[in-house]
Amino acid sequence: MNFDLTDERQMLQDGLRRLLADSYTPAAHKAIEEGDTGFSADIWNSLAEMGVVGALFGEDDGGFAGAGFDLALVFEEMGRVGAVDPLIDTAVLGGGLVAALGDDGQKKLVDEVIGGGAQLAFAHVEPTSRYDLARVDATAAKAGDGYALTGRKAVVVNAPAAEHLLVSARTSGKAADESGISLFLVPAGAAGLRLRSYPLVGGGQAAEVTLDNVPAELVGPEGGAYEAIAAANARAVLAISAEALGLMEVIKDLTIDYLKTRKQFGVPIGKFQVLQHRMSDVALEVEQARSAVINLAGHVDAAPEVRDVHVSATKNLIGTVARLVVEESIQMHGGIGMTNEYELGHLAKRLTMVDHRFGDADHHLERFIALAVA
């Protein structure tokens, strides 16, 4: 039992923390907000150069780390600066799925991702699927040597910047069956592919994707993509939970600073016990969140029945604590916490949106009951 970072991870953490502190200036945040991809190409390139993308992949896939604790480390640091880079979409989901299912030719895309040269998006969620991973209505029909995809995909994060979409579609079975789901590669600009792009609350860009007989290339076995999607989803839950932890830590620090400096009734408001105790509860729950991230990081590559208990336990706790941290921090900041200019706003919005990806607290409570209680 050991909760210390290895030397390699300590080096990665130090380097990444420095890089992000230098990169994510207020001016950089503003430029990203005004741009149309949802992130900065310069920052993305320096992350790839430092090996941050490679740290999310195992050696077999051309990376150099890839364990749960590597993901947790990288994404906690990203969260600490409110970073908006599409690492989850391009690397954890897109790259991760191609690495798991692709043939040798397709896997060249993973090398490009690790080198920083390719952007991907995973088009899986549909307008009515909510958080159910197996609910896929989009269809794939054989067409010549390949397939033709038809359907709609919802809130596809990073789709506007992606050179390739990874699209899930049904080759057999009914709407909620795990079997019969296949994965396809679709290049941006393919015939019949339409994107309606928009910015997201808390940063980043996404698109509503409509597919109308879009020619596509199968990735992995026909009808057998579900387990790889579930595994990639588990790693994405870990990534976004660790990012949430980083956001919580920095919001907590901002709020403590504010309690120490803001004076009312002639004293710093942090001298009031009613605020001290609320802040103590926030700090305590953030420690619970850290433990939940550690638990999932230690089990993300375990057998599915063990892994999924931790996925749901962690995501439920993160969603619950995130709401407490956001609402308490805005309340304790008072009026300044309501302004768009103050940095809390971006962080609070980004942390709130965590509950809307890969299953919210209620969704995972229900999953946890099915897996561990009943």
Binding site: M1, N2, F3, D4, L5, T6, R9, F69, I256, L259, K260, P268, G270, K271, Q273, L275, Q276, H277, M279, S280, D281, A283, L284, E287, Q288, A289, R290, S291, A292, I294, N295, A297, G298, A313, N316, L317, L365, E366, F368, I369, A372, V373, A374
Partner: protein, 398 residues
Amino acid sequence: MDLQYTQEQLAFKGEIASFLKAKLPERLSERIRQGQDLTKADMEEWHAILNAAGYLSGGWPAEFGGAGWDAVQRHIFEDEMSKANAPRIVPFGLSMLGPVLQAFGSKEQQDHYLPRILNGDDWWCQGYSEPGAGSDLAAVRTTAVREGDHYIVNGQKTWTTLGQFANMIFCLVRTSKEGKLQEGISFLLIDMETPGIEVRPIVLIDGTPEVNEVFFDNVKVPVENLVGEENKGWTYAKYLLTHERTNIAGVGFANAGLENLKRIARLEQDGGKPLIENPHFAARIARVEIELMAMSTTNLRVVSQAAAGQAPGAESSMLKIKGTVVRQEINALTRMAVGPYAMPFASDALEDGSNAELVGPDYAAPVTGEYFNNRKLSIFGGSNEIQRTIISKAILQL
């Protein structure tokens, strides 16, 4: 980062598990599992078994006859004990007074009292709280006035847990009214047989006489019973509280309680189906289980820091709050799980040797009592509000 125990730790865990399998009397573990009270003889029997195996003093340093376990080993031991439904070790002599004497006691005190703690000659209780000194412990008013070779002690202690079984009490007494309140307190060891001491039971809301009031009327205590220096007692008391807090999360108790709750929820019927299939109730269980999973890891993080030589600091205040809230929630859910059978008052039937017939399923009898009894968890050892103040001062520096 590694969530697994080392080979040595796994071997230790196996050793403790097989010891418990071989030596823990089923009569005792069954009483614990069913939430029944233990007698003084039961507790002494279990202490003697642990002592014979060298485990009673496992956490003590080798120079005082202990095994010198580190924090991880202590955690493993406590965890295995809870899993096996072993009676908990009565902490007053072993994990409260023992470490204070080892750190601050005289050679004579160490030689005399430490072996007696282990072999069961002395049963200690704690004389800290007073009617006017609860969370504000430094306000103790029980006085000890030096007269020749003795202190004359007058005053009252309260909430003295298991004081009815004790022959010795360690007390915080006021030896000076000069300066700050904390600077006039001394740490005194008192024989309960001394004339002038009276113990009166306080019956708690679950019907058990678990705690007592202790009155001191001109009680003569030899000066050699002073621990350390006069007026330095506050330092020793704080040291003791740190030791008391190392297992403050009570993860083992919470795990055992959760398992019992799930067992009951599978047996209880609700609308013709097991209660555990009621989605509303299942969600309550799931929430507390998820909190407990995270808290177990928070606890291990603190344990692992302590094993690396860092003293448990204000992090233990976080564990105290979360640990007690989780255990109280489990108690509340267990009470709700048994439905109407939470209502029969079963205190007498849970006593050892009682022939009273239980009403309803046997698992229902203790749950209401335990629910009320464990309201104490967020009050004693520094109330959860005191812990929040400690966190905001020591960690958040507000």
